[in-house]
């Protein structure tokens, strides 16, 4: 019933299903004989999408459909590209997607039921600190950053999960109408500690993400422009110090200014990404006709470049729009929440997605220096996918609360009228 009430969302769903199926049919024709596994993967994608959408909208009519759908589109484009380049990656990604969806539902239910966050401020602080420090000590280095953690056969990236705890902790600390001085100090130390560890791990993208999220959440909660500007100053100072202190920071800036000068070295990835995007033109060379393997890390950080090559700049801009839709809807959930803590959590989660997508998109198109973060929902990787899905679960939980409250108010008004 609810589905029929919202024709725009459901028609979007049809378009997505058509897009996914036609893409997988095309990929199936890439090899001789026809690759039926592509159809299976496409079918599973559509099945997951429908089950998730129908079940969730049935049980939680107040859920934000647009967030759900945009996340699914982005994930679908990711799996399509991964299957097209390397089916093995796509199978794994599909599992991560399914696990992520389940996790999202769990988080959604948990956040709607769990009411005693305040008691968990210090345990959360300690948990996040332990996770970050242990990855610094026991972590192994992948792609130049020591931010991975091996458990059995899985490599996990703790910073992907800690960022959610980070938002929760900040929201708890900033919740009081009058920010107490003690809490302010705890907040500063905690944030500085997390960022410092990430810098030590050479995970500059994550450090930037945390710092930006801290700044945005503080500004939104306190409205204190002067102190916010002070933090901007500290951040800029830190950036200058890092630039002068660390070779890898300087190298990032140099290759951003002129990647062609270091083509055979550090500029290689950026140059190949630019060439890939330029090859696509407006409409792309067509799915399966590009040479995505020329771009290093094409399956993760650089997935945007190879999507642009095969689907064209227009789809590239559409992807940016999808993120923007997600961000605007996420922010509106925060704006509509009447509880300051949940409003801050929702806004923090949205800010994580905002900054993360902007940092990597801007880096790939050479608008800002490239720092390695994953594209939320699109990049290959379990940690990234699960973290993004958890973020979405938290957002949806708060959206459901908002909706329930609105319905309750409506019922109240109606009873008065009667």
């Amino acid at each position: 019933m609810n589905i029929l009430k919202r024709p725009s969302a459901i028609s979007l769903l049809y378009v997505i299903i058509l897009f996914e199926l036609s893409a997988f049919v095309l990929i199936g024709f890439m090899v001789q004989p026809f690759d039926y596994m592509a159809l299976v993967v496409g079918g599973v994608m559509v099945f997951l999408l429908l089950v998730q959408y129908i079940m969730l909208t049935r049980f939680f009519p107040n859920l934000d459909r647009y967030i759900l759908i945009t996340a699914n589109v982005l994930a679908a484009i990711g799996v399509i590209m991964q299957y097209r380049v390397n089916p093995d990656l796509a199978y794994k990604q599909l599992i991560w997607l399914a696990v992520g969806m389940a996790l999202m539902v769990c988080v959604l239910i948990f956040v709607t039921k769990f009411k005693v966050w305040k008691k968990f401020l210090y345990p959360l602080i300690i948990l996040s600190a332990v996770l970050l420090v242990s990855s610094l000590i026991f972590g192994k280095t992948i792609n130049g950053a020591k931010n991975w953690f091996r458990i059995g056969i899985f490599s996990l990236q703790p910073s992907e999960f800690v960022k959610i705890i980070f938002v929760l902790v900040l929201a708890l600390l900033l919740e009081d109408p009058k920010t107490q001085f003690k809490k302010f100090i705890i907040m500063c130390f905690y944030s500085a500690f997390c960022i410092a560890i990430l810098v030590l791990q050479k995970d500059l993208g994550a450090a930037l993400l945390y710092a930006g999220t801290f700044l945005v959440m503080y500004f939104v909660a306190s409205g204190n422009v002067l102190v916010s500007l002070g933090f901007v100053g500290v951040g800029a100072g830190g950036a200058v110090v890092a630039y002068n202190l660390f070779d890898h920071v300087r190298a990032r800036v140099e290759i951003w200014q002129d990647p062609w000068a270091q083509y055979n070295g550090k500029g290689y990835q950026i140059v190949q990404g630019l060439i890939a995007m330029a090859s696509g033109g407006l409409f792309g060379v067509g799915l399966g006709l590009g040479t995505p393997k020329a771009v290093p890390v094409y399956y993760s950080d650089y997935i945007f470049a190879i999507v642009c090559e095969e689907f064209g700049i227009l789809i590239g801009i559409a992807i940016m729009c999808f993120y923007l839709v997600f961000i605007i809807r996420g922010s509106l959930i925060a704006v509509n929440s009447e509880n300051k803590f949940y409003a801050l959590v929702a806004f923090g989660c949205t800010t994580l997605i905002t900054l993360q997508s902007f940092i990597i998109l801007g880096g790939v198109i050479k608008l800002i220096p490239l720092t390695g973060v994953t594209m939320p929902f699109m990049s290959y990787g379990g940690s990234s996918m699960m973290a993004s899905m958890i973020l979405m679960g938290v957002l949806e939980a708060i959206a459901i609360q908002n909706g329930n409250r609105r319905l309750a108010k409506l019922a109240e008004v109606e009873s008065h009228v009667n």
Partner: protein, 488 residues
């Protein structure tokens, strides 16, 4: 009771106000984010649309390499039609003569992509018959050209001249660029040691001598300290910024202390009281160190940048290293930078362009390697067009510099380059590489022929060979002589 109630209301009210305030802040942030994303979309479309043809035709585009599997690339010829590279039975082969292969290796490049600075890579689109300015996408063109043969490309270089100069350099490592200063055509570009394009694998093993770097094009990618040839730039700065530049004198006692740093002349030679023209003729370090203090560091930087230091060269026919000039507020550094040491670096091709600009009344031409392309039926597809790259000096300034540079060859350090019957202007350079006196300096010589019928300019560098006047000037003379004999 009532005060308590009021207080409670007040707190609730401030709480509500705070929430309102927070919503407003959130809305501000949303608008900021929307603006940032819109800007990103605009930048993205703009940067791709305005740069795509440049990026696609870039030597680093692997798609072109893939296209070579389905399209037969055309031949590479020199300006007289001598075949330097061709495709036989699907394999790329280079000239049958080893000497020719070595001497021309860096202009021709190689098809496998190990050397990405030669004609093979630079003109790969043309060799495959692809057109980057075409509205049809490259991928479509590649498919249309499948199993066909691309275009033949003729270069501006003369392979005989290249070979002659390669031999004349003897056992020295280094580079020579000889070009037409009116058109920008490069007649000869040699980087020694060269490589054998028919057996590129031998240079890719681990046990090759890294000091040889056969695969690096020293002429375009070498970043050498210019040494005294940089005094051409310092002289130009003096002429522009100092009213008394030509009359001002300094007393050279063989060395001078500037800002606590000793700047000494070659072999401690004392030039006495001299003015600018004489100082250039005899390459007096003390004079130029002192006059740089009057010119000032910002004017020195401005002049170096006028001569295209610190500039990314964006030429269609060459991949060139950026030359660098670093400004320093230390008097000693400024003095050393004015005589081409400190952190100054330059490529031989850039130096050839600079001396060409002096000879060409201050107009710097874009260097050209591509002469013309012809398709399978013999029809000319594209041909060279001369381009003015920049006007770096006024005519008057160039005239004064030329006059001083003629003196260098008639009466100064460059006598070894003199050819009877021709007005040759030049400048020697002996660029110190380390403070270690056992390592010999790089020998530089740049020169031009002051004759509109033979508009030739040259830059010669021999690595660790000694002084420019004794080692490089004779090579320049021989090269000019040969070029004149060949009718250029």
């Amino acid at each position: 009771m009532s005060t308590k109630k009021i207080k409670k209301e007040k707190i609730e009210k401030t709480g509500e106000d705070q929430n309102k305030r927070m919503r407003l802040n959130m809305k501000i942030m949303i608008f900021t984010v929307v603006a940032a994303f819109l800007y990103m979309m605009g930048y993205f479309s703009y940067t791709i649309m305005s740069n795509s043809s440049k990026w696609l035709s870039s030597v680093y585009n692997n798609k072109i390499a893939v296209a070579k599997n389905s399209i037969t690339p055309g031949d590479i010829l020199d300006r007289n039609g001598t075949v330097l590279a061709t495709t036989k039975n699907g394999d790329r082969v280079y000239s049958g003569n080893l000497e020719t292969r070595l001497a021309n290796s860096h202009t021709v490049g190689d098809g496998s992509g190990a050397v990405a600075s030669g004609a093979e890579t630079l003109f790969s689109m043309e060799l495959l018959g692809l057109d980057d300015n075409n509205s049809i996408s490259i991928i479509t063109q590649i498919r249309a050209n499948e199993n066909k043969r691309g275009n033949d490309v003729a270069l501006t270089i003369d392979s005989k001249l290249n070979q002659y100069i390669y031999d004349a350099m003897g056992n020295n490592k280094g580079a020579v660029v000889l070009m037409n200063y009116k058109t920008g055509e490069v007649y000869s570009l040699v980087s020694k040691p060269g490589f054998d394009g028919n057996d590129i694998a031998q240079y890719l093993t681990d046990d090759t001598d890294p000091g040889n770097s056969e695969l690096v094009n020293r002429a375009t990618l070498g970043r050498y300290p210019p040494g005294s040839i940089f005094k051409i730039i310092t002289t130009s700065a003096a002429l522009r910024y100092l009213a008394d530049a030509e009359t001002k004198t300094f007393n050279c006692t063989g060395s001078v202390i500037i800002g606590g740093v000793k700047v000494s002349d070659y072999d401690g030679e004392k030039h006495g009281t001299i003015a600018l023209a004489e100082a250039l003729t005899h390459s007096c370090n003390s004079f130029f160190g002192l006059i740089s203090q009057d010119i000032g560091s910002s004017n020195m930087l401005a002049t170096a940048e006028r001569f295209k230091f610190n500039t990314s060269f964006d030429f269609s026919d060459f991949v060139m290293a950026k030359s660098s000039y670093v400004q320093s507020d230390q008097a000693g550094d400024l003095a050393w930078s004015a005589i081409g040491q400190y952190k100054d670096t330059v490529s031989p091709l850039h130096m050839a362009m600079i001396v060409s600009a002096v000879a060409n009344d201050g107009v710097m031409m874009e260097p050209k390697l591509f002469l013309k392309s012809t398709d399978a039926s013999g029809q000319v597809q594209k041909s060279m067009k001369s381009n003015t790259y920049a006007t770096i000096m006024e005519r008057q300034e160039a005239f004064k510099l030329k006059t001083m540079m003629y003196d260098v060859v008639t009466a100064g350090t460059g006598k070894a380059a003199a050819i009877s019957g021709y007005k040759i202007g030049g400048k020697t350079g002996t660029a110190e590489v380390t403070s270690n006196s056992t390592t010999k300096a790089h020998a530089w010589f740049v020169a031009f022929i002051g004759d509109t019928n033979h508009p030739l300019a040259i830059a010669v560098i021999l690595e660790n060979a000694g002084t420019g006047g004794s080692k490089s000037a004779p090579i320049a003379k021989k090269a000019f002589q040969k070029a004149l004999d060949l009718g250029y």
